[in-house]
Amino acid sequence: MPDAVITIADLSKTYASGFAALKHVSLEIERGEILALLGPNGAGKTTLISIICGIVTPSDGTVTVDGHDIVRDYRDSRKMIGLVPQELTTDAFETVWATVSHSRGLFGKKPNPEHLEKVLRELSLWDKKDSKIMQLSGGMKRRVMIAKALSHEPEVLFLDEPTAGVDVELRKDMWAMIRRLRAAGTTIILTTHYIAEAEEMADRIGIIQHGELVLVEEKAELMRKLGKKQLTLTLQERLDALPEALQPYALELAADGESLVYTYDAQGERSGISGLLADLGSAGVRFRDLRTSESSLEDIFVSLVRDAP
């Protein structure tokens, strides 16, 4: 039985407007994992995070953080959580140092300049500590928001679209930072639009659509289960139609007739490739090149979201 740090049970949220943003979501988040939540805009990812952090009141259901109910024991549950929201919302006139010190205090922690220095150094913000936030670039402000969330040494970190609008360099930095945090035992929940990011970072992936948790799965398992492999053969001579002998195979002739695409189950014990190649030879079909490809998380995501009702 894995050790769940956050347990979400039958959580629903209907806003005053009548919009049902979350419908009966249940989920266990394991201690120390990186969970990526994927889903189209408006799917309910931010609502889910906001409820766990105490910004939105749930309509129904419960959430516990390390056994502490987020409503009844909000002090104990919130102390454990750091939140980096999606919007860049910062004070303008405060210095970086003042704002991270303020955040630490809000979470009930005694001042600890050494810890704050460490956080700021890790985020390459140390030389900006006396700058006013409004003087910083967008990427720097994003770092400030992360520093605020880390100021009180949270055990669980929520990153809502952490790399939206962030340049490649900073994105790499953030990934490295997330890995360091994870290595130190922090549980990380991130939402993202960049599927490559989830593929790169996550241990498990959850997909939310229309307020429902469509699926939660180990990333590797998900890729294995839903991923398809394809073998593409570039032919020496054009074919007008598939030879009779090859009909039983899941083969597709490209429109130009110059290549054959064979789709097979990555999970299957037998790919059927050797049989196919033998039959190709006996049918007199010769090829000059072959390559295999594997579907990416993006393909899987797109097909899931498209196929869902």
Binding site: D76, R78, I81, T90, A92, K109
Partner: protein, 253 residues
């Protein structure tokens, strides 16, 4: 009790005040002082004493109240409105901070600033008008209680306001007229009986009357009523604030 959070909010708010000393401290003191320079020293000499107190000295308690009221409301409302406006309120809402601690932090800072201003105006007035304080304890008590109560009023407005206009409207359209008509510049006894009766519906009358009594021992209404009224307003404000937090009114969806 999350004492660190109270300290953090209080410090943050006080830093905001001292970052802009001209606007936050100097300008309210100067604009209030202008009243007793003009009415006290210049015109006041031509106005007869009221119950043995020179006109300049008579209006001082009302003027301090006027400033405390407007400044408390302004500070209390801006302090909570801006995080809401900027979106930085997310941090407060997600922090392990109770509503009580939030209010102590924000309202405490707003009231502190008003009290500092009140003391500054009082010190300035010393140079221009003859002042005496018969009941220093009650003078301080009224000062502190009024500052807290109206910082709470501001806090409520700050949570309620959906835009800058609402934020400015209440102080300008309600607080200022009530103060001017609440006996800052006159004793209620100079009014015709009908308007005297109407004035008693003005809550500010009780504050100014009590405050003036603390200075000179003269009052429009009995001091015990003033004390009761001040405490009553405080209780009402506390009730509204706790309702707002319990329901998440305009803070949480």
């Amino acid at each position: 009790m999350n004492v660190e959070a109270i300290k953090a909010i209080y410090k943050f708010e006080m830093a905001r005040t001292f970052r802009t000393p001209l606007q936050s401290l100097i300008s309210p003191v100067i604009s209030t002082s202008l009243y007793f320079v003009v009415f006290g020293a210049a015109i006041g000499s031509r106005i007869t004493e009221i119950e043995g107190v020179s006109y300049g000295a008579f209006i001082l308690p009302g003027l301090i109240m006027l400033m405390i009221l407007t400044q408390s409301v302004a500070n209390g409302s801006f302090g909570i409105y801006f995080p809401k406006f900027l979106g930085t309120i997310y941090e407060l809402l997600s922090a392990p901070v109770s509503s009580f601690e939030t209010v102590v932090g924000y309202v405490g800072a707003a009231a502190t600033k008003s009290i500092i201003l009140g003391v500054l105006v009082l010190a300035t007035a010393w140079f221009f008008v003859p002042i005496r304080i018969d009941h220093p304890f009650w003078m301080l008590a009224f000062l502190v209680l009024t500052a807290i109560t109206f910082s709470l009023v501001g806090f409520i407005i700050g949570i309620w306001a959906k835009g800058m206009e609402q934020l400015q409207t209440v102080p300008l359209l309600i607080i200022t007229p009530l103060t001017f008509l609440g006996g800052t510049f006159y004793s209620l006894s100079v009014l015709p009986p009908f308007w005297q009766a109407v004035s008693l519906f003005n809550p500010v009358v009780y504050l100014i009357s009590g405050f003036r009594w603390a200075f000179y021992g003269i009052a429009d209404v009995d001091i015990s009523i003033s004390v009761a009224a001040t405490l009553g307003f405080l209780a009402i404000c506390l009730g509204i604030v706790s309702w707002m937090f319990r329901t998440g009114y305009r803070l949480k969806s």
